[in-house]
């Protein structure tokens, strides 16, 4: 016996749970439309709101699975999921009914939202539906945020999001909020002061944590028009900001993501608004990220050969792929490689301060 982990940096429990049929993680896109046009967004908004047959398919799939599940985790993603609240409510009400008849199950749900429509009434409604975790992004102070997280009609979004956040904080709702704070060359200098403001307003509340993230060139049409931090700069900047938060507010206030991407887990599936099934929420246009379809009767029609490449990180000498199986994804002959997503070589990012989204 040895005390060496089966995969360095990965808990054995995480390995085992990834292969468990008693655990199901669904990332559901109730719509792929958005009320924002963030300058760095990689989505093409080609799919609309989830249609009734797909909603029925999700409900029937869960009807079939819930009786034998120990853990169900549903993540709502988009597009902006809160512009399709009816879909979220429809599916969530069904899940709640089903989980009531399966008392052994742990059911959790989160939503990744821009929070523009997350007023307190909405948060209360979602809370009743067991949607109690939020990931919300800010791009720095209002002046900076409103240049990059632009509404579809061209207006700014900071004030409304900030008001919604303050209302959430003032509520007694049993929720947790990850404030994702985007770092760019443009806002880097003001970020320490901004985080002081965040600390003052939110970090005394145990429900709030911060996740600093560097903006990257994620494949959107504007990638050539804005600057991002290079890999080393980004790592350094994010570390410094994490340290700042830790020093001021305690280590528990920095969100620590795991080392295994959900896309590497065989029991994690992405259900798109169209009913297409995938693995990754970034490479939505990549043919390799389409592994099959969900039918109206709740059955999954998945191509047998399409899953393996996403799981290769569990194999010997491939564990680096666990963190991001999309990077270096093996492809069938003739299958196009999506150039828009990937790790750009050092030096390929532009430096300097160029305003974007004007």
């Amino acid at each position: 016996m040895t005390d060496t982990a089966a995969i360095p940096g990965v808990l054995d429990e995480e390995i085992l749970t990834a292969f468990s049929d008693e655990i199901l993680h669904l990332i559901v896109l109730p719509t792929e439309q958005c009320n924002f046009r963030c300058v760095y967004c990689y989505e093409d908004f080609s799919v609309g709101t989830m249609k009734a047959p797909v909603v029925t398919g999700v409900k029937r799939l869960l009807e079939r699975r819930i009786p034998t599940l120990r853990q169900l985790h549903i993540g709502w993603f988009g597009g902006e999921p809160l512009i399709a609240q009816k879909v979220i409510e429809d599916i969530s009400e069904s899940v709640l009914m089903l989980t009531r008849t399966a008392p052994g199950i742990t059911y959790t749900s989160e939503v990744t939202t821009n929070a523009y429509k997350l007023d307190l009434a909405t948060a209360k409604r979602l809370h009743k539906l067991n949607i109690r975790h939020y990931q919300i992004t800010l791009d720095g102070p209002e002046k900076f945020h409103d240049r990059t997280r632009i509404r579809r009609d061209g207006g700014g979004s900071f004030q409304k999001i900030w008001t919604n956040l303050l209302d959430l904080r003032s509520s007694s709702l049993d929720i947790s909020v990850t404030l994702r704070v985007h770092v760019t060359p443009a806002n880097l200098d003001v970020m320490p002061e901004f985080l002081l403001g965040i600390r003052k307003e939110f970090l005394k509340d145990s429900r709030f944590v911060i996740l600093p993230k560097a903006v990257g060139h994620w494949g959107g049409p504007n990638d050539s028009e804005f600057n991002v931090l290079g890999h080393a700069e980004a790592t350094q900047a994010v570390s410094a900001l994490e340290e700042l938060i830790r020093g001021q507010a305690g280590s528990e206030k920095v969100y620590r993501p795991g080392n295994v991407c959900y896309a590497s887990r065989p029991n994690s599936l992405l259900i798109r608004a169209s009913g297409d099934v995938g693995k990754c929420t970034v490479a939505l246009s990549d043919p390799a990220n389409s592994i099959g379809r969900l039918l109206e009767d709740g059955t999954l029609e998945l191509r047998e050969e399409s899953l393996g490449p996403w799981l290769r990180g569990w194999s010997k000498d491939s564990s680096k792929a666990l963190g991001c199986p999309l990077v270096g994804l093996p492809r069938s002959a003739g299958e196009p490689v999506l150039m828009q997503i990937g790790v750009r070589p050092p030096g390929s990012t532009k430096s300097g301060d160029v305003e974007v989204g004007k």
Binding site: T2, E13, T106, T112, L307, W314, S315, K316, G323, V343
Partner: protein, 76 residues
């Protein structure tokens, strides 16, 4: 089972032959791979994993690590 044997088990698991059935369950049409999957499942008895309440009284967390959110992504 020791951690070493978990590594062995993963080494013997041909992930190219792992698939998802019509209900979303993890399966393989290859009997050897299916046997390895069953061994992995035998190692995890989720029912025995203790649950603990968050000390802040918020979400109930299992000892099993939760799936990472989108923010865990190495790309975005």
């Amino acid at each position: 089972m020791t951690q070493r044997s978990l590594r062995d088990l993963l080494d013997e698991l041909d992930t190219d032959k792992v698939s998802i059935d019509e209900s979303g369950r993890i399966r393989s049409s290859d009997p050897n791979v299916e046997a390895r999957l069953n061994e992995l499942r035998d190692l995890l008895d989720v029912k025995k994993l203790a649950r603990m309440d968050d000390s802040n009284g918020s979400m109930c967390h299992c000892t099993v690590p939760p799936p990472p959110m989108q923010s865990g992504c190495a790309l975005q």
